[in-house]
Amino acid sequence: MSQTVETGAPAQAEPAKKKPALSEGKRAERRLGWLLCAPAAFVMVAVTGWPIIYSVWLSLQRYDLRFPDDREFVGLSNYAAVLTDKYWWTAFGITTLITVVSVVIELVLGMLLALIMHRTLVGRGLVRTVSLIPYGIVTVVAAFSWFYAWNTDTGYLTELLGAEAPLTQQIPSLLIIILAEVWKTTPFMALLLMAGLALVPDDLLKAASMDGATAWQRFTKVMIPVMKPAILVALLFRTLDAFRVFDNIFVLTKGANDTSSVSMQTYNNLIKGLNLGIGSTMSVLIFIAVAIIAFIFIKLFGAAAPGSDSGGKR
C-alpha cells in the first residue's frame, strides 16, 4: 500500500481531461480503493448473495412446503395475490403509521438526548451510559416489561393513568407500541447524532456566538449542516428498521385489533404457513417499500450521502 499518492495532486489539476488513459496516480487510487473495499464487499456478497437471489426466485413460484409436489413457476401471480389482499394493505398502513410517527418522535427526542449527552456538565459518563441501556436491553424482555406495565391486572401504568385495558383497543395499543419503539431505539439515533455533534468544530460555534447568533441559530445554522451526514445515517437506518417492527407488536398485542405489521404477516405466511412463495413475495415487497424510502431520503439529503461526491476533496 505504499503507492506514491502525491501524484494525486496533478490528477486533481486535470478534472476536465477527456483522455481515456488514466494517470498513474488515478490508477493507484483506484487500486487502493478496490483493495480497501474488497474484504467488506466479499463478505457481504458471499453471505447474502445467494439467499437474496433465492428469495426473489421463490417469490415467482407457488411453493408450499407442505405440498412439495405442487411447486410450480407462476410468475407475478403471487404479487397480484398479495397486492390485492386487504390484510396486506391494513398491515402496510399500520406499519407506515408506526414508522412515521416513531421516527419523527425519535428524531426530535434523539437530538435532544444527543445535545444533553454531549453538553451536560454533570455526570456525562453516567448519562451517556444510562441513556444507551434501553437500546442495549434485549427487545423481547423490554417489550414484556411494557406489557406488564400496561396489562390491566398487573399494570402499574394503567392504574396511574386510569386507562381501561388499553392493549385491547386499536388506538391506545398503537400508542403503546409506538412508545415502546421510541423508548427502545431513541438511543440509537441519539448516539449517532451525538457522534455527529462531536464533529462540529468549537471555533465555528464560538465565532457564531461572537457574531451574536442565538442558541437556536447556532443550532440550525452551524450544527445541523455539519451533522447532515450523521442525521442521514441515523434517519435512514432507523426508518429501515422501524418499517420492520415485529417484536414489540408481537409481545404487546400479537397483532390483534388490526395492529399487525407487514413483518408479522410475512412471518405468518412464511414460517407459520410454510408458504415460501407468498412469504418471499412479501419480503420482496417490504424490500421495495423500504428501498423507496431510502431513495427519498438520499435524494433529500443529496450530497450528504456516502459516495456521492468524487472523493471529498475540498
Binding site: S2, Q3, V5, E6, E29, R30, L32, G33, L36, C37, A40, V43, M44, V45, A46, V47, T48, P51, I52, L58, I116, H118, T120, L121, V122, G125, R128, T129, V130, L132, I133, Y135, G136, I137, T139, V140, V141, F144, S145, A149, T154, Y156, P187, L191, A195, A198, L199, P201, D202, L236, L240, S263, Y267, S280, A291, A304, P306, G307, G311, K313
Partner: protein, 280 residues
C-alpha cells in the same frame, strides 16, 4: 467542550436535573425488569414496583446450569469478534468510499444498503442451508459471518459520514510533512474518525449481542447458542408459563457487559479534535 458562559453551580444544577429526567425516563422499564428478577415466586404477580420480598434465587438458578454460562461465553466471544472484524472492514471500506474515487463505489454503497434493507426473516432459511452444507451450522463462525454482513452496511455508512467531515487538507499537510499514506491515516485521520469508529463499535456490538433471529435459527446446541436465544429455552414450571423471574435475571446479567462496553467507549466520542488542527 463548548463553553459559552462560565460554568456556575447554577448551570451544573440545571444539568443535573436534566440528567435525572433522562435517567428516570430511560430506566423505569428497566427497573421493573430488575425488580422482577429479585422478586420471590409468590410476589411475582403483585403489582408492586419494588419487591416486597427480596431473593437472589433467580440469579442462583440461572448460574447453576451450565447452559446460561455457556451462552454468555458464546455471546461475548461472538459479539466481540464480529464487532472487531466488522469495524475494521467497515473502516477500510468507508475510507475508500469517502476519500477515494474508483468505479464501483456507488455500486458498493448501493449493495450494502440493499443488504440492510432486505427482510432478514426470508434470508434465514437459505442461509441455514448454506451453512449446513459448509459445516458452519451451530458454530461460532456460523454466527459471526452473518453478523459481520448485516453490521457492515451501518458501519460503512456511519464511518464514511465521519470520514467525509475530516478536511482533506489535514491529510495533505501530513503527506507534505513526509508521512506515507498509511502513516497519514494512522496519525492524522484515524484519531479524527475516532468518534465515528467508537460509535460504530458500540452499535455493532449491541446488534450482535441482542440479535435473536439468527441466534435461534443458526444454532441448535449450547455450542454456539447465544444468550437472547437461550432465553427461549428457560423452563418455566410448565409449557404455558414463561419463567419471568429467571428471564428477568438473565436479562439483567446480559445487560451488564453492554454497560461496560458503552462506558468504556463513550469516553472516546469526544469533540474538539478538529479545532486548531489546520492552521491558517
Amino acid at each position: 467542550m463548548a463553553v459559552i458562559a462560565g460554568s456556575t453551580t447554577g448551570r451544573k444544577a440545571k444539568w443535573a436535573v436534566v440528567d435525572i429526567v433522562v435517567v428516570v425516563y430511560a430506566l423505569i422499564p428497566v427497573l421493573w425488569t430488575v425488580s422482577l428478577s429479585f422478586k420471590t415466586a409468590e410476589t411475582q404477580t403483585d403489582k408492586n414496583f419494588f419487591p416486597s420480598a427480596w431473593t437472589w434465587q433467580n440469579y442462583k438458578d440461572i448460574f447453576t446450569t451450565s447452559e446460561f454460562i455457556r451462552a454468555l461465553i458464546n455471546s461475548i466471544g461472538i459479539a466481540l469478534i464480529a464487532t472487531l472484524i466488522a469495524v475494521v472492514l467497515g473502516t477500510m471500506a468507508a475510507y475508500a468510499i469517502a476519500r477515494l474515487d474508483f468505479p464501483g463505489k456507488r455500486a458498493l454503497v448501493g449493495v450494502s444498503l440493499l443488504i440492510a434493507m432486505f427482510p432478514q426473516v426470508s434470508l434465514v432459511s437459505p442461509l441455514f442451508e448454506m451453512e449446513r452444507q459448509l459445516g458452519l451450522f451451530d458454530t461460532w463462525a456460523g454466527l459471526i459471518f452473518p453478523y459481520i454482513t448485516f453490521a457492515l452496511p451501518l458501519a460503512i455508512y456511519t464511518l464514511s459520514a465521519f470520514f467525509r467531515e475530516i478536511p482533506w487538507e489535514l491529510e495533505k499537510a501530513a503527506k507534505m510533512d513526509g508521512a506515507t499514506p498509511a502513516q497519514a491515516f494512522r496519525r492524522v485521520i484515524a484519531p479524527l474518525a475516532a468518534p465515528g469508529v467508537f460509535t460504530t463499535a458500540i452499535l455493532v456490538f449491541i446488534f450482535c449481542w441482542n440479535d435473536f433471529l439468527f441466534a435461534i435459527s443458526l444454532t441448535s446446541t449450547t455450542a454456539s447458542r447465544t444468550v437472547p436465544a437461550a432465553l427461549s429455552f428457560f423452563t418455566g414450571a410448565s409449557q404455558f408459563e414463561a419463567p419471568t423471574g429467571t428471564i428477568s435475571a438473565a436479562a439483567v446479567v446480559i445487560t451488564i457487559p453492554i454497560i461496560f462496553f458503552v462506558l468504556f467507549f463513550q469516553r472516546r466520542i469526544v469533540a474538539g479534535l478538529t479545532s486548531g488542527a489546520v492552521k491558517g
